[in-house]
Structures are given as structure tokens and as C-alpha cells.
């Protein structure tokens, strides 16, 4: 059983990698846009330092490091948010979705593996670039176990939302609201570009429900070399619970959506 799933997973990863590599200009432009955005943050960080805002004293790291960590961790997880939905959409556009489903594998497994392969490729590129860019700027991130656990749990949580989103895109076809809401709001409330503490109190309360605002403090604490405290444990517990709930709900929504399209006959519509 496990060997069979691994064989399937390999089939999807190989297919995604070969397809990704066949679009050379896309690969190059992806690299270029990430480097440009990193340089932008470098200059924004310099402006913040020049303004003498006391950001570093307040937060314990430069703005450039703060924003780069936020964008990298959020980017890694965001690829999980969009990968499943994009995988379904791509298969529908290519006309291969029905052929995949008729292969006799569970649709949930197929969507999961299709999205996972996209995530692995997407995250591999993001992580590779992040390491490259951070080393260019002489920024080193001390990777701690708790930081890795936070990123893994955060990715799982977001992937669960991505699975639900993949189910909903089968029904709505365009304008799927879940990933849009999560993507837009976690950028605003998750502490990606600025600390959550500068938000009004009522928005800080809203930010608390976003896994982003629990994952990033743990990673940044690792960067600062801060000792693990009760806050870290609380963040990790929140991420663990949210990952479990999110993945379960994601598979449930995906299963219901598959059943819905079997009834309505809209499996191949997009």
C-alpha cells in the first residue's frame, strides 16, 4: 500500500518537474521576480533604519531580516494554499482530469498528490532562492527544531485550506473564496510585513486566529536566538490543533465536492 502510494507520488513529482522544466522562461522569470522583491525589501529596510524608527530595538532584528523571514515562510506555505486548487484547474484546462479520475484512484488522493508535487516543486524553488538570497546579503537563519516544526505545521494547516479550496474550485470554477480570503487576510493580519503588535487591539484579536501569526513569531524567535518560552509552546499547540482540523476539513470538503460533481456532471467543466 505504502509502496503503491510512493510510486504514485513519484509519478506526480516527476511529471510536475518535467513540465516545470519544459517552461524555461517561466523558471527564469520566477527567479528574477524573487530576487527583485528581495532587493526591494533590502531598500525598504534601509529606509526604515534611516528613519530611525527604532525597529531593530523594538523587534530584535533589522526590518530586512524581519520581512524576508515573513515573506519566505509565508511563501512556502502559500504554495501549499494554491497548489491543490491550481492542480485541479490545470488538469481541467488540459482535459486530463477525467482521465486521472478514471484511473481508479481516489480523487482525494489524486488531488492531494497533484497538489503535493506542485508544492514540492514550488517550495523547493522558493527555499532554494531564499537560501541563495539570504547568503547574498550575509543573512543567516539559525534553524531550530521548533522553527522547523512551526513551518511544517503551518504548511500543513495551509495545505488543509488548500485542499478545501481545491474542492470548492470544482464547484465554483472561478472566484473560489476560501484561498482568496486566507491569502489576502493573512498578509494583512499575519505579521508578514510588519509586527502584529502595531495593529489596533481589535485587529490583533482577529490576527490571533491566523496560523501565520503563530508560525512567524516562532521562526523569528529562533532567528534572534531567544529562549523557548511558554509563548512558543502556545504557538506550537495552536498550530498543531489548526493543522489537524484543517487537514480533516480539507479532505472532507474535497470528498463532498467530488461527489457533487459526479452528480452534476461538471467534473471536466472549468
Amino acid at each position: 500500500m505504502l509502496r503503491d502510494v510512493m510510486n504514485l507520488a513519484w509519478a506526480f513529482v516527476a511529471r510536475s518537474a518535467l513540465t516545470y522544466a519544459s517552461y524555461r522562461s517561466k523558471l527564469l522569470l520566477g527567479f528574477a521576480s524573487l530576487i527583485l522583491s528581495a532587493i526591494t525589501f533590502l531598500f525598504v529596510g534601509r529606509v526604515v533604519e534611516l528613519a530611525g524608527s527604532g525597529f531593530e530595538d523594538e523587534v530584535g532584528m533589522t526590518y530586512t531580516a524581519f520581512a524576508l523571514i515573513g515573506v519566505t515562510v509565508h511563501g512556502v506555505a502559500a504554495s501549499g494554499l494554491h497548489a491543490f486548487r491550481k492542480a485541479v484547474r490545470r488538469e481541467q484546462l488540459q482535459g486530463t482530469f477525467e482521465q486521472l479520475v478514471s484511473s481508479g484512484r481516489s480523487i482525494r488522493l489524486l488531488v492531494f498528490l497533484a497538489g503535493l508535487s506542485e508544492t514540492i516543486i514550488g517550495q523547493g524553488v522558493v527555499l532554494g532562492l531564499a537560501v541563495l538570497i539570504l547568503s547574498l546579503f550575509n543573512v543567516t537563519i539559525p534553524i531550530t527544531l521548533t522553527a522547523l516544526a512551526a513551518v511544517a505545521l503551518y504548511s500543513l494547516t495551509v495545505s488543509g485550506i488548500g485542499l478545501a479550496s481545491a474542492g470548492l474550485i470544482m464547484i465554483f470554477k472561478e472566484g473560489e473564496p476560501v484561498s482568496w480570503a486566507f491569502g489576502a487576510l493573512s498578509g494583512l493580519l499575519g505579521g508578514v510585513y510588519f509586527p502584529v503588535s502595531i495593529l489596533p487591539v481589535w485587529l490583533q484579536r482577529a490576527a490571533w486566529v491566523f496560523p501565520t501569526s503563530h508560525a512567524l513569531p516562532v521562526v523569528r524567535a529562533g532567528f534572534r536566538g531567544s529562549a523557548q518560552d511558554a509563548a512558543t509552546a502556545t504557538h506550537l499547540a495552536f498550530l498543531l490543533a489548526s493543522a489537524a482540523i484543517s487537514v480533516a476539513v480539507g479532505f472532507l470538503v474535497l470528498g463532498r465536492a467530488c461527489e457533487h460533481v459526479r452528480v452534476t456532471g461538471t467534473l471536466r467543466e472549468y
Partner: protein
């Protein structure tokens, strides 16, 4: 000659119907279809466009849930959406836009072969075998998007053969094929029928059904609540012939 010995019912359709709801209106896609196919047998679903042939194949493939009736495929009721039944089926629902156009013919076959449970040497030999059978070798390293329509049709049939399925569901398998392509596909199908594989094939050309024991004629259902006398559904037995004209 078909495989001798005990035959197993592979497909059982009993009064199967499918309708869709579009803006509150009921649209009938298929009405009261009944037929059975045993191992080694071939059935052709014949009818004009809109008669429900592809709908029937999609129901058998588990891609659609029937609205009425009972459809059992490889011992599983398709209403329950059992993937296990689908793993015993080789499906070709048309060649156009069903491949990864950026990948080569071999890569496409390898991907779908893995989905069918093949791996390692078994996968390679299965690909080589179907490629030889359907004369796809010259195109194995060509991107699927660059294949001619006829070669794409043969590739779609080759993909359905991977994994030695118990049942083949082929939608217009001879579409876009020249005389040689048609003969190759016919011979390949016939070999599988002799090995005990069952076939349900949709076509709108009577001549393409000549190697099928049963021909089920479908007429487009009328989407009104009163059963129309114009709706006819017949099943007849014909003497099977092998090969294409």
C-alpha cells in the same frame, strides 16, 4: 473465438438513466439503458450525437453518478463511486486534450501506467508492448502536443490498454484513424477480447461495431416529463466479425 470457460458478468446496466438540472429544468441525458457484458464480450453503443453514449461510458467509468437504475461494473455498484472497480477498467474518452502536451508520448504512457499500478520493468515492457502493437515507437520521444490527431487517437487507446484491464471503455476509438490505424486498433482490441477482456464501445457508425456481439441502439432522450414514443432503445445480437473493413 472468445476465451472458453466460465464467463463473468463485467457490466450490468439495469434501467440506468441520467438527468441534469440546469436552471431548474430537467435535462435528460440518458434514459432506461439496460445491457450486460460478460468477460470476452463486446458491446457497441450506437446512436446519433446526444443519444447518451458518452454519458453511459462515463457512468460505467464511475465519472458520473446515475440518477436512476443500477449500474454494476466489475462487481461494484458505480453509484458508490468505488475506485477499486475503476482500477480494472481501461478508459479512453477521446484523444483530444487528454494528454500532458509538454511531455513526450513515453512520459505520458509512463505517468498513466504508474496510475494503473505498473512500475519498474513491468511498466517499461508494457509501454514498449503497446507502442509496438499500435506502431507508436517513432513517436515515443515526441511531445504529445505535436502528435497528429490520428496518432493521438492511437495513443489514447494504448493508454487504455496499460495495466491489463478487465474492461475497456472506448469512446469513438476509430475517430480520426486512417485505414492502417483502424486495423491496428481493431487487432489490438480483438486480442484483448480473446484474452477475456470485455469491451463497451461508443460509436455513431454501424460499420465500426462489426466485431461486437451486441449492438445497443440509443436515441436522444426527449427532455419532457411525458415518455415519448419516439424514444427507442433496442438491443440486438449480431454475429461478431473481427477486424476492420
Amino acid at each position: 473465438m472468445r476465451a472458453m470457460g466460465l464467463t463473468t458478468k463485467i457490466v450490468e446496466f439495469s434501467d440506468v438513466g441520467k438527468h441534469f438540472r440546469r436552471r431548474g429544468r430537467r435535462l435528460d441525458a440518458l434514459r432506461d439503458l439496460s445491457f450486460t457484458v460478460a468477460s470476452g464480450e463486446a458491446v457497441a453503443l450506437i446512436g446519433p450525437n446526444g443519444a447518451g453514449k458518452s454519458t453511459a461510458l462515463r457512468i460505467a467509468a464511475g465519472l458520473l453518478k446515475p440518477s436512476l437504475g443500477r449500474a454494476v461494473v466489475c462487481g461494484f455498484n458505480v453509484s458508490h463511486g468505488t475506485p477499486r472497480a475503476r482500477r480494472r477498467i481501461g478508459v479512453s474518452l477521446g484523444a483530444e486534450r487528454s494528454f500532458y502536451v509538454r511531455l513526450t508520448t513515453r512520459m505520458n504512457l509512463a505517468f498513466f501506467g504508474r496510475l494503473a499500478g505498473l512500475r519498474g520493468r513491468g511498466l517499461s515492457s508494457a509501454i514498449d508492448h503497446v507502442a509496438e502493437e499500435l506502431r507508436l515507437e517513432p513517436w515515443l520521444n515526441v511531445r504529445a502536443g505535436r502528435l497528429s490527431r490520428g496518432t493521438g487517437s492511437r495513443l489514447a487507446v494504448a493508454r487504455a490498454f496499460l495495466g491489463e484491464p478487465q474492461l475497456l471503455l472506448l469512446d469513438e476509438p476509430f475517430a480520426s484513424l486512417d485505414v492502417l490505424g483502424c486495423a491496428l486498433v481493431c487487432s489490438a482490441i480483438d486480442r484483448r477480447l480473446r484474452d477475456g477482456c470485455a469491451l463497451v464501445m461508443a460509436t455513431h457508425r454501424m460499420g465500426e461495431s462489426r466485431f461486437c456481439e451486441q449492438v445497443v441502439e440509443l436515441q436522444p432522450p426527449v427532455s419532457d416529463p411525458v415518455p415519448s414514443p419516439g424514444v427507442s432503445l433496442q438491443s440486438r445480437s449480431v454475429r461478431p466479425q473481427t477486424g476492420c473493413e
